[in-house]
């Protein structure tokens, strides 16, 4: 790595005085727990807007009133929507359906970010989609861990691997920084364009896949960390 490249990486990965690994891991744990708490309360017959409001209440009950991005609970066809896009209104969760959760809470001074996908019923394609989003996340993460690849190589690999699994990868959601709030003051760009190897505990890896012909998709995201943090 040249000195210019090293300076660039140092700049994009810098943190503030409040940054501590312990706090970042604490918010990560809270974020993952809240995702599953929200998911457990999403039941067939529920309207998506009600689920979003329920998710906000749960986050607030854990002291996470503030977010660095909005709360997304997307049902059925809305799982194909990209980050920030408004959901089609009034979508009701079906008996054989898929839904995703994407939250970016701020706890005290530290940012969390997490996403996952769940199914109701037994639609095999939806179940495989949700499972493959997680599988792909870990495939890409392990490539980073073993080969120290750049952000760009990681997402080239993710695109190809998703295609081989029969899904289309949405590169609008292609990773980002995470830090003490707000990380946007440091770097607001994607992980997918990095021409250096991202460091652990600085980045979030996002995987959003869509069915090539049917109107559903799946999402999984977590911090870029080695295997020991995913036991």
């Amino acid at each position: 790595m040249t000195s210019v490249e090293l300076l660039k990486q140092t700049d994009l990965e810098r943190v503030g005085a409040a940054f501590t690994p312990a706090k970042m891991f604490a918010v990560r744990d809270m974020t993952r727990a809240v995702i599953h708490e929200i998911a457990a309360k999403c039941k067939p017959g529920m309207v998506e807007e009600a689920a979003v409001e329920m998710a906000r209440e749960i986050l607030a009950s854990h002291g996470m009133v503030r977010g660095w991005h909005d709360v997304y609970v997307r049902f059925g066809t809305n799982t194909t929507k990209t980050f920030g896009a408004p959901s089609d209104p009034g979508i009701v969760l079906g008996e054989d359906d898929i839904f995703l959760i994407d939250i970016g809470p701020v706890w005290e001074q530290w940012e969390g970010d997490g996403g996952d996908t769940f199914v109701t019923g037994s639609d095999p394609e939806m179940a495989r989609c949700a499972k493959d989003a997680r599988t792909l996340f870990h495939l890409v993460r392990k490539k980073w861990e073993k080969e120290s690849t750049t952000g760009k190589v990681l997402y080239d690999y993710a695109t190809e691997a998703a295609s081989q699994m029969g899904w289309q990868l949405n590169l609008d959601l292609s990773g980002h920084r995470l830090s003490e709030f707000p990380h946007a003051a440091i770097y607001d760009g994607p992980l997918a364009t990095l021409d250096f190897t991202p460091s652990p505990l600085r980045w979030v890896l996002e995987i959003h896949i869509r069915h090539p012909t049917k109107p559903f998709g799946a999402f999984f995201e977590d911090m870029l960390l080695d295997d020991s943090y995913f036991a």
Binding site: A60, V65, G67, H69, D70, V71, A185
Partner: protein, 121 residues
């Protein structure tokens, strides 16, 4: 992408659309007074950011990050529609004082012509 587009507004007025009334905003910033003009219907955060006020507004105007918080001068605080539940909760969480609001949640209407805003934090 323009700041207006980032916050869900149109980049510019379509050529055949009727002209929208202008609303003036009195901005107090570092003890300096500045008069801003903006089209009715726009969001206050967009006008302030376009004027160079350093409001991060990292959530893109969704009312969840609190980084577009500003103060309204006392006589204007009552003229702006009251905050909805989500904004109320976030303002309380941020320990906001009376008159402080999220500028992304304020839509500029004719009734707010002349509104006085302080972005002094």
């Amino acid at each position: 992408m323009t700041i207006a587009e980032m916050f869900g507004g149109a980049a510019e007025t379509p050529p055949l659309a009727p002209p929208r009334s202008a609303v003036s905003i009195v901005l107090w910033n570092d003890r300096r007074k500045q008069i801003l003009r903006a089209a009715e219907g726009g969001r206050l955060v967009v006008v302030l950011k376009n004027a160079g006020v350093p409001l991060p507004a990292v959530c893109g105007g969704k009312g969840v990050c609190g980084t577009c918080k500003i103060s309204l001068m006392r006589e204007w605080a009552d003229k702006v529609p009251p905050p909805e539940k989500r904004e109320q909760r976030l303002l309380a969480h941020l320990k906001a004082v009376p008159g402080e609001r999220l500028s992304c949640q304020i839509t500029l209407t004719a009734e707010l012509d002349g509104i006085e805003v302080c972005a002094c934090d």
